[in-house]
Amino acid sequence: MRAIAEGLFTHEWPPRLIGGRERLTGRMVFPCPAGDGYEPVALTSEGTVWSWTVQRFRPKSPPYGGPDSFAPWIVAYVELAGQVIVEARLVHVDPDAVRIDMPVRLAPVPLDPAADDPVMIPAFEPLGDEV
């Protein structure tokens, strides 16, 4: 798997997201900032939807690096209990079925599914019946 950036995912299968614990305060953030102030931490792969919306128009390029053809996608904040709330795509679910607090698990997706060697971005999918 080729990630959109180094340091976002662990090199294992299935991969996990890498957060950063601030050494001074214990505060967890994502992604893990460079430098000695943060200790990389593999984040839990299951969480719940904290909030969400739908991106209905193609973001401007630059900086957006997705394909020219555009279909709306769901962007969610997913709470990883006791760790951090991360921003990621929410996939394999219709917007009408998304609920705050619904359980989800990490499921990275390609930024451009049609690309020959796509880069993968953080995404979550519903746990259970919705899939």
Binding site: M28, P31, S51, K60, P63, G65, E87
Partner: protein, 386 residues
């Protein structure tokens, strides 16, 4: 310490003016404000100017006159105008000056703000993945707020409907045609739950305020509109802000999180020595319809969740208990960042003078509140008293 008074106001209409630069619109507003105050440019002892995307404000001395005036530029995100006003009032409160200017103008390209990750200390992949879009943040914030406090999508529609209805009576507003609530609710969705009518647009415009010491205001013979408080504050820990790849987890996430707004608001009320119940008019940041709803509570005017009933009962209409965004706010006026906060104060001065025409708040209002909030978690509040 003497009160600071606003003795002159001027505005260049908001919206799109292709023939004028942002600076031109600022100069237009300054000339109008000088005329309103009955003073000349050469009488102005100092100026603070704010612009985010339309150049350095101090260059306007070339148009207004090379008097050698002290002129300080302010760039402070969405709180730029409020920061200029805060600085201007401090210059008078200090006793150093007794007549000065706060001016703000801007001119943004059409469409959503186009931000780059590096400008916000974010990694490039964050923009490549499609997250440098302010509307996502606003939508995600209200989505959670609606879930937590039982706010309906109809309430969002009511806010937008009111904005366009009020804007129709404000000569400086951009969108001056009323839009029905069904059209608002059924319009194409931009970022759920917001349709296109529920977001304000980047725009253009200019606003100028002439400030004077109380003694100077008396000498000018102007009605005394006192600036009782002007505060600018930044965010507390754990707040949810635009362009956040992550948010802190907190022990009790069923209560609203702290915000820059809550801090700026509490400070302003403390400085003015009055409370939310004493305010007769409020201009609240309405980047989108839900922002006005959340800011009603964050500024202390109602409890979280009460907005649903307030809006259904029309309590924030021109004739209601607390008229909110009497000129249609950002939804009707658009948002030129450097000018937006000063427009709110302009509108409050117009209302306190009784010059609001078709949008005038009845009952001879005596207090007026303004509130700005924006990236990267900044807020500015003012309280005026007549």
């Amino acid at each position: 310490m003497s009160d600071v008074c606003i003795v002159g106001v001027g505005i260049h209409p908001f919206g799109r003016t292709d023939s004028l630069s942002g600076l031109d619109q600022g100069v237009f507003a300054v000339r109008e404000a000088l005329g309103d105050a009955g003073v000349d440019w050469k009488d102005i002892q100092f100026a603070y100017g704010s612009s985010d995307a339309a150049g350095n404000p101090d260059t306007m001395v070339e148009r207004l006159g090379l008097t050698g005036v002290q002129f300080i530029n302010v760039r402070n995100g969405c709180a730029a105008g409020g920061s200029a006003l805060f600085s201007a009032q401090m210059a008078i409160k200090s006793g150093e000056f007794d007549l000065g200017l706060a001016v703000g103008f801007d001119k943004h390209p059409r469409g959503a703000f186009n931000a780059l990750p590096a400008e916000y200390n974010l990694p490039d992949w964050y923009g490549e993945a499609g997250y440098m879009v302010t509307t996502q943040f606003f939508a995600a914030k209200i989505m959670r707020y609606m879930h937590m406090f039982g706010i309906s999508r109809e309430a969002l529609g009511r806010v937008a409907e009111k904005a366009f209805r009020n804007g129709a009576h404000a000569p400086h507003a951009w969108r001056r045609v009323p839009v029905g609530i069904d059209e608002i609710l059924n319009a194409p969705m931009v970022s759920d739950p917001y349709s296109k009518f529920m977001f304000c647009s980047p725009a253009e415009g200019g606003v100028a305020l002439i400030l004077a010491s109380e003694k100077k205001a008396h000498a000018l013979g102007k009605p005394l509109i006192r600036l009782k408080a002007a505060t600018m504050r930044t965010r507390p820990p754990h707040s949810f802000e635009v362009f956040s790849p992550s948010i802190d987890v907190v022990a009790d996430d069923r209560a609203p999180r702290g915000t820059a707004t809550r801090i700026a608001s509490a400070d302003a009320f403390r400085a003015a020595g009055i409370g939310p119940a004493d305010i007769h008019i409020a201009q609240l940041q309405d980047t989108e319809a839900g922002a006005e709803i959340m800011h009603m509570a964050e500024n202390g005017f109602c409890a979280d969740g009460e907005q649903e009933r307030w809006l259904a009962e029309g309590q924030t209409e021109i004739g209601g208990r607390l008229p909110v965004n009497t000129d249609g706010g950002c939804l009707a006026c658009g948002e030129p960042i450097g000018a937006s906060g000063l427009r709110q104060v302009y509108e409050n001065v117009v209302q306190l003078r009784g010059d609001g025409g078709g949008r005038q708040v009845p009952g001879n209002p005596k207090t007026a509140y303004s509130h700005v909030y924006g990236a990267p978690g900044v807020s500015a509040v003012t309280i005026l008293e007549r």
